[in-house]
Structures are given as C-alpha cells and as structure tokens.
Amino acid sequence: MWEYTDKVKKYFENPVNVGEIEHPDGVGEVGSLACGDALKLTFKLDAEGRIADARFQTFGCASAIASSSALTEMIKGMTLEEASRITNQDIADFLGGLPREKMHCSVMGMEALQAAIAHYRGDQKTREEEGNVICKCFGVTDREIERVVRQNRLSTREEVTNYTKAGGGCESCHDAIQAIIDRILAEEGTQPSKERKAGTKVRRLTNIQKMKMIEETLEREVKPALQHDGGDIELIDLEGNRVMVALRGACSACAASEVTLKGYVESKLREFVSEDLVVEEVRE
C-alpha cells in the first residue's frame, strides 16, 4: 500500500474545485486514458488578471486526484506570472510530499497549469518546441524530460520514470533517457546521485564530458586529501576508459602510491564519473 500523507488523503477523499468552468479563460489538458492518468484544468481570471476560479477533472489514482485538487487551491488568487512559476515540487510540498513513484502526478499538475496558461496567452507550440517523443509508451518528449530533470535535479533513469513515467513501459527508451540525463549532468557539472547502483551502468559520455568530470572529481574529492599529505595529482590524458595521471610532491616518491591510485583515486572516479574507469600512473 502506498504511504500517502493525511493531506493527500484529504484532497483525494473530498476533492475541492471539481468540474469544468464554462467559458474559461484558460484550458489545459494533459495525459490520456492509455497512460492511466489525465487532467483537464480550467481557470477564469478576474478584472485584475488574477485567477478567480480554477477547476479540474482527473482520471487517475489517489495522488493524481489530490495533486489536481491541491493545484486548483494553490493557484486561486495568483496572477498568471505567479502561477507560471509553480513547479511540481511546490505541488508535492503543498501535499506534505508524495511517494517517490507518484511524483509524476505532481508533474502532470504543473504541465496542465502551464498548458492552460499557454492556452490563455494564445501560445501555439510548434512541434519543434514540443520536442521529440522519446518514450512512445507514454508519449513523453525529450523537452519534457529535460525540464523535469533540471527542475528536480534528477540523476537516474529510475527517477525520470517516477517523475514523468517515461521508460515505464516497454523500456526500449532507457538508453535515450540516460543520454539526456548524462548530457544535462555534464552541462551542469552536477554529480550523479549516490543511489546509482554500482556496476549496473556504465555511463555513456563523450571523452570531453568525461575529461571534464574527471577533472572536477579530482579537484573536489581527491586533491584536498593528497595535498593534506603534501602530495598532489595531475590529469595527463584519457584514452577510452584509461585515465592517465601523474603523482606529484610527496606522492611521487611514496611506496603506497599504487594503493592510493587504485584504492582511492580510481574508486572516487568510478563513483562519480563512470564505473569502467581504470587509473594508470604516468611516470615522467
């Protein structure tokens, strides 16, 4: 059984703002029957441009209904500027949190809100803006995945599935999702979360991305420790998965340098960059 907060239960059992506004100013529809959840959000503005009323219709599980109802409560009284800044995390927080596997319900709320605002503003998204469909089972595009990954600082494929459903069906898009995550991580220089199961995945990175991440990992994780002992390390080259480094200072003359390299440097690089890296010392 899912562990829902009391607030989720409250909004599920007695949802507020159910229905559809006649002649709404904005309409947002996301999801489908096939996906297992869908939300239709309508709102009306008052004379000052604030959301006077918002209503929802939802097909979905308890957390989808609760997220939708909560969203309508949250946005009432807001300007569209304010409403457009609401993220899925805001919705989850409002409800006191959602189970990890149910985060996609809050994402659905955010997307419906954005669609409704776009509808009001008359934005017609072109196909290109919507992006390319990555997950065919649930119709999720690379743009949607990218936005959710960036907003929620996701770093694993499992998290992306929990938040967007992408990859939760036939699983054939897992590599494509991983590639998007890797690209964003490399761009942002963020570290993958420690939840990544060791040995299960070898990350696909370009050599330049890899080099950059190795440099960053050495700077942050390795050098401080070595420098403390009067030593240092320098990245010389990268060939495939072989990382060539030179030890400096006290390390270069240390009998335990092999242990340092394999046991410490290599394990750090494997943890933060890629499971398949092998560290080798270059002697000059």
Binding site: G36, D37, G60, A62, K165
Partner: protein, 396 residues
C-alpha cells in the same frame, strides 16, 4: 470498522482448525522427523499423514508430493528441474498470462539461450490449444500452463491439454495455485500432468508452505541439494508445523469443495450481477469462459483502479486491482493487456476473490457502497464526461 475481505486470490485466512492442528508442533512435538528416537518418529508419522492428506485432495500418491516453501518455489523447481534433465532441449512453451513465478523464470531463461513461446489468449482470456499443438516441437522440453488465472479466474482446459501432449515427448507442468481447493482435481484420472504446483496460503493454510506434485516416473533434478529429505529432491529439515497445517487445510478443502462450488459461486454471482445492474459501463473480464467459482474481475470504465481500492479500503473492503498504479509499475496488468482489454477498462479493473468465509450480507455491503464510489470518481473523470456527451444519452 468492519473488515470485508474479498482478496482471497492474494492470500487467505488461516483456518482456525489448521492453526489448532499446527500448534502442538512448536513446543511439544518439536522433534526432527529424521531422528531415530521415538520423539522424532512420532513427528515423522504426522508428516506422513499430512502428505497423504494433500495427496488425497489431488488424487495423487503420497510419494508424489514434495513439500516446498511456496508456490513460487514449486514453479521454479518445476521449470529448472525439468530443463536440467533434458539438456539437449532448448525450447519452453508457456502463456502470456502466467503468474510471474513462471513467466519471469521463462523470460529469464530466454535470455540464457532458451527459445520461449508465450501462447496468446483471446479477448475473453481463452487459449487456442491448436496453437499449442503447433508450438510444441522435438526441441520442447517443457510446457507450463496455469490451471486457473489468478487475476480473472479463467480456467484453461488443462486436462484437454494434458491429453494432447501425452504422446509428445515433453513434460507438462501446471501452476494450479489458484485452482487447488476451489475445483475438483483428480490426477489419478489425468495421467498427462507431470508436475503441478500449489500454495498453502491460498487454501487456508499459512504462508510459507507449498507443494510440487511430481508424477511417478517424471525426471526432475533435485532443487535444494542437501540431505535425504523429500526423496533427496529438496534437502533441508521439513517445516513440520506448516506441513501439518497444509495437510489439515487440504483435508478441509476436500470436504468444502462442494461448498466452494455452490454457495461461494452463488454469492460471487450475486455480487457480479448486482454490480453489472447498478453500475453502467461495467465489464466482466473473462466473461463467457469457465471461471473459478470464487473470482470476479470487473472493469469500471473511465475510472482508475487505485482510487476505487482506496475508497473501498476506507470502508473496510479489501479487494485488488489490475491497474498500473496499484502494481508499482506504470502499465496495467499483463493479463488484461494480453487479453486486449482496452485502456478505458484496464485501468479501472477490480478483482473480488471470495472464500468460504464470505457471506451474502458482505456482498450486499459492497453493493451498497461501490456504485456510489464509481459515480463519485466518474464525476471527477474528464473521460466519463466526454463519453457521456459523445454517446448523447446512450450512457445513463
């Protein structure tokens, strides 16, 4: 709050008679049945009795009964044990609607060099056994087809299949976890079934005990290597209290089979008919097929199963769903998908599975509340509104 438990295909209440039969084997009769002294010997007697009780329910011989820890272990042992004795054969035949205990084992093997045929079912959940006939070749080591489906209750013509396979050089296993204790089974009459799995906790024994029936003369590799227990096929000291409990449960099931078939079927039908009458756009999954007397699987179109279950749960009603959200996966049940149940219905499927402990009054309690729950959820559902609109009054 009252509890109305209608999720008996998930697990059942341990019968009080079963618990009573088990209790002496914890603090009093705790000897090891393999021991040479009288203290172990008397336990060995009880073990033998339990084996006979289970054998009797199945129409089998006592030495054809191997006790295991659960249905899943029995299924695994049947598949791996068969393949090990026929190393030259590389083909397995099963169905798309098998329980994961068979389906995932077969899929695992298909990644290890085995060829796998998963037979399809039609919209009502029925197999086309002519397709089975075509699928079996000289390379086929094992055919594994469940007796009754856990989600829909649809029964496959296992005896007909066994007849068909009798002249073929292939081992036939059936996962009868949902069938045993609910329908009469007589393996003395049906010689084409080589292996059969059952699980104690589906027939009012406790969790943690199961059986693999192995017909005399069926080659099967040992699956837990150790001592001489269970004819050396499953080493390890026997789980005596639970085996005794399963023996008692089997005896009770034999006595109550008639009841399952008449009274339980009657109240199941009362619930099913009542819901079909009270709730528009409701479908029976597996309609028209022979079904277990205790199971009904209904789809309420345009609403989602988890929401229904939660509302039911708040009223003390315990059922289950084939919806995606309840399984932790994102797609509805593989059984409903294999049957081609449309998404409008698959996400809103609810399974009620009864036992002899259920009453007609409990069904009335469900009938009193469930229609309002569906109505409430449909009022929220955008699809229900558009379905009502587009059918222009065709839907009430």
């Amino acid at each position: 709050m009252r509890t109305v438990y209608v999720d008996n295909n998930a697990t059942t209440r341990t019968a009080p008679e079963v618990l009573e039969a088990m209790l002496p084997f914890f603090c009093d009769l705790y000897g090891n049945p393999s021991s040479m002294h009288f203290f172990g010997g008397q336990v060995e007697q009880c073990l033998r009795k339990a084996r006979s009780q289970v054998a009797e329910l199945l129409g089998a011989g006592p030495d054809e009964i191997v006790f295991t820890s659960c249905g899943t272990e029995s299924d695994n042992a049947a598949v791996f044990g068969t393949l090990e004795t026929a190393p030259h054969k590389r083909h397995i035949v099963t169905t798309r609607v098998e329980h994961p205990a068979v389906r995932n084992v077969a899929r695992h093997l298909s990644k290890k060099g085995y060829r796998l045929t998963e037979l399809p079912v039609d919209g009502s959940g029925a197999l086309d056994i002519r397709q089975l006939d075509h699928a079996v070749t000289q390379d086929t080591a094992l055919v594994s087809i469940m007796w009754a489906n856990n989600e829909t209750g649809v029964m496959f013509p296992v005896e007909e299949i066994a007849d068909m396979l009798r002249d073929r050089d292939v081992i036939f296993h059936t996962d009868a976890v949902q069938a045993v204790g609910k329908i009469p089974i007589d393996l003395s009459r049906q010689k084409g079934i080589h292996l059969l799995s059952l699980s104690g906790h589906k027939l009012h024994a406790p969790k943690g005990v199961g059986v693999l029936y192995i017909r005399k003369g069926t080659p099967l590799a040992p699956f837990v290597i150790g001592g001489h227990q269970e004819h050396g096929r499953r080493g390890g000291t026997e789980n005596v209290p639970y085996i005794v409990g399963l023996g008692k449960a089997a005896e009770l099931a034999g006595q109550r089979l008639g009841d399952e078939n008449t009274r339980v079927r009657g109240i199941r039908d009362h619930l099913e008919q009542g819901l079909l009458a009270a709730v528009p756009n409701t479908l029976v999954n597996g309609k028209g097929q022979p079904r277990l007397p205790n199971t009904t699987n209904l789809s309420f179109e345009y609403v989602e199963g988890e929401s229904i279950l939660l509302h039911l749960s708040n009223l003390g009603i315990c059922a289950s769903s084939g919806s995606a959200c309840t399984s932790g996966s994102l797609e509805p049940s593989h059984v409903l998908r294999a049957m081609g149940v449309p998404f409008t219905a698959a996400h809103g499927s609810i399974r009620f599975s009864l036992s002899g402990y259920n009453t007609r009054e409990e069904m009335d309690y469900i009938l009193e509340h469930l229609p309002r729950i569906i109505e409430k959820l449909r009022a929220i559902s955008p699809f229900w509104n558009s379905a009502v609109r587009s059918s222009a009054g065709g839907v009430q």
